[in-house]
Symmetry: C2
Subunit: 430 residues, 2 copies
């Protein structure tokens, strides 16, 4: 799925690791988002993560993980286990292993009390446990919750104890890790980032590998998700070579690149639509609402998104989108004419500037020889232009639906961009 | 988020851990599905996972992780790093740490060659690397790929080397781990499982803790996600006590329990609707399509799901759902009358048996004193009955939307169940 590209070289001297604490993470299939976030921040400074451990609320196992980390890592992040209950053993585990006392800070407990008061509640007695800080550590204020973080330097290692909830942990990283990295003289590595829709990973690799192989001093990484690829290049020294490489990559990838920063396709599209004060409505069949759901993840999407129809049954396609039943009968629901009629019907129905549609066979059943599972049509209408594109996606139901949604977002992005260029073109001619 | 319930006792004597190998997993936000799968299999036999490590393709770090695992775990699973390239260092790392030679097995390479031949391809020379097996290990055939697995017993520890791709790894676990557990005399543990919607974790705990505390020999675990709770009880010996506990838990939780097996709320609802041959349509505002998306994740959902309207703007609520503009003006879009009008309008519009709606303030902006962020109304209509429930969810935009979607699914589940009971009641009277 993902790989450091062949020929890339890693030369960072400082390394980091994350120890995520919480029994639930041993069972559940939830992502340990902490590590991903921390890895991303550190990577910008050329500090790689060498290991992630996930351990239960078990003092002995936490100490073993920290003990191993101390032998090899310059930055050690323990996340979770700072809550007020008896399960929350991180503070004590670190205290025992490093033979550092925990000191009670009444002023921290006062802050926690204040927080409860502001929420109209009373602090529980057990929250007092969160006032204990390791004797050589600095308490890190938690602006989003009760558990303070802790930072200490121990035998040359930088150790962070951070609360588990991402919304509490991430601001602490921003406020305390980044300044520390700066202070340690680490400079943000020069990076170039590309986010690519539409092309399969193997195709991207075929395009970019012959180029980046000519830059052996630059570290390249590719991450692939269905219909979405991230490409990173990192140089530790001279950045003129990096710029040169980035320019060449930009040329070969063209408008498949939808962003050069870490934002999603729907966010890029949202910017474009807001900029133009344009509105959008969607008509979905096999994705069942996924396109609308992704768009409305963005706070403020109501500025440009009017809504849509989940036209799962043919009846709804006719009733709500005015797709002529004759057309459905003649071409079938999964076809170019229906995709276009859905996009056009939606747009007209609600008076949006753009209409986008998805109709396809997400499987596992419903495929035919002519239209096997994975056949998806994405339709587009802007009042002047109507079009559709046929895709054949591989993967299970979920993966096909994700790729369909990305394809629809990307088609719209390209069209909006195009019409923007035209608008500009017209203006400059005037 | 999740915790073994207080007072529960863990008495398993054998423990396991997983070491997942692959640099890509240090960067990407993909779940390490191996661990989840292995943990699930072992849990059924009462063998808990005590740690998961994720390490790069780095021999030194792999050896450190394995070294630590050997000090504490009875079952050790190394997944990944068995491929044919130079990045794949698992075999060598284990060989070095345990001072075991790697022996070349030409018959394994012949099998790999055969596999390539069947696919109409020629084996690469580098695949010969996959023919090396640790001298005391048994090769585990890979029916789905090229890399054989390996199993060895080392100083009383059971060590598995398994290929990374889940479709290759999982059959090996089935074929080799389960028989080993049986052979070691471990019996599948007795388990009772509850899946609960609607109630907050703290409320569930308050209800169930006084009961399960009377069964100290039974191991209890609670996993909480927004609007969804899983409760496990595991007994290692006598299961009559477990049945007794389960009965009592069923009584206190009532119809908040939506499943006693590992299935999702939308799957339970789908069963109910299919059983009754009833149809459903949805009208969503703040969830923007999430409800439809969840329902249509289920293959074959077209049997009961007609579709829906994403009525993100007020205009759409009136245009497509026939919500009277006057009503919108009087009560505001986030209100009980509008939720009911949306559900009713949707149902009538498309002629479904049930209509369900969601309208709310997902935030971060848009809240007011009367209707703060997190205020959500779920509406319901079945032609005879119309109703709505007001919720106040806590969390960020995403969490509020997830809870809203679960609340809508659950309200519908309860209503369908209710009308089913009535239908049965009517029948028995007739």
């Amino acid at each position: 799925m993902t790989s450091p590209l062949p020929g890339s070289i890693h030369r960072a001297s400082l390394v980091a690791e994350v120890i995520a604490i919480g029994s639930e993470m041993l069972f559940s299939n939830r992502v340990d988002t902490h590590s991903v976030y921390i890895a991303g921040r550190l990577d910008g400074y050329g500090v790689p993560l060498i290991a992630r451990s996930i351990v239960g609320d078990d003092s002995r196992v936490i100490k073993q993980a920290l003990g191993l980390a101390l032998t090899r890592s310059d930055f050690i992040f323990l996340t979770g286990g700072l809550g007020p209950t008896e399960d929350d053993v991180t503070r004590h585990a670190v205290s025992e292993l490093l033979s550092l006392e925990l000191k009670y800070h009444s002023e921290i407990v006062e802050q926690i009390k204040d927080r409860f008061r502001r929420l109209g509640r009373t602090m529980n007695e057990i929250n007092k446990r969160q006032g204990f800080i390791l004797e050589t550590a600095t308490a890190l204020e938690n602006t989003e919750g009760t558990a303070p973080g802790q930072y200490l330097k121990y035998e040359g290692r930088h150790i962070f104890l951070l609360p588990g909830p991402p919304q509490e942990m991430q601001p602490m990283i921003q406020r305390h890790l980044i300044p520390l990295l700066d202070q340690l003289g680490l400079r943000p590595a020069s990076r170039k980032y590309f986010r690519i829709a539409e092309l399969p990973e193997s195709h991207v690799e075929t395009l970019v590998a012959p180029i980046y192989r000519q830059y052996p001093e630059i570290h390249a990484t590719i991450l692939a998700a269905p219909g979405d690829i991230e490409l990173f290049f990192r140089a530790e020294d001279d950045s003129s070579r990096l710029s040169e490489l980035a320019d060449r990559i930009t040329q070969v990838l063209g408008d498949s690149v939808y962003a050069t920063e870490e934002i999603t396709l729907e966010v890029v599209l949202a910017h474009l639509l807001k900029e133009r004060r344009s509105t959008l409505a969607v008509a979905e069949s096999c994705t069942g609402g996924m396109l609308g759901e992704w768009i409305t993840r963005i706070p403020g999407s109501s500025e440009f998104f009017l809504g849509g129809v989940i036209a799962y049954s043919n009846t709804l396609k006719s009733q709500l989108l005015e797709v002529p039943p004759k057309l459905l009968h003649r071409y079938g629901a999964v076809s170019a004419p229906i995709a276009e009629a859905m996009a056009e019907g939606m747009r007209k129905r609600v008076g949006s500037d753009y209409g986008v549609s998805i109709t396809g066979v997400a499987g596992p059943s419903g495929g035919s020889e002519a239209k096997p599972v994975g056949t998806v049509f994405v339709g587009y209408s802007d009042g002047e232009k109507k079009q559709s594109v046929r895709f054949h996606f591989l993967g299970d139901r979920e993966v096909i639906r994700i790729q369909s949604t990305r394809a629809a977002l990307n088609m719209l992005r390209k069209e909006v961009l195009q019409s923007k260029r035209q608008a500009r073109g017209r203006k400059s001619k005037a």
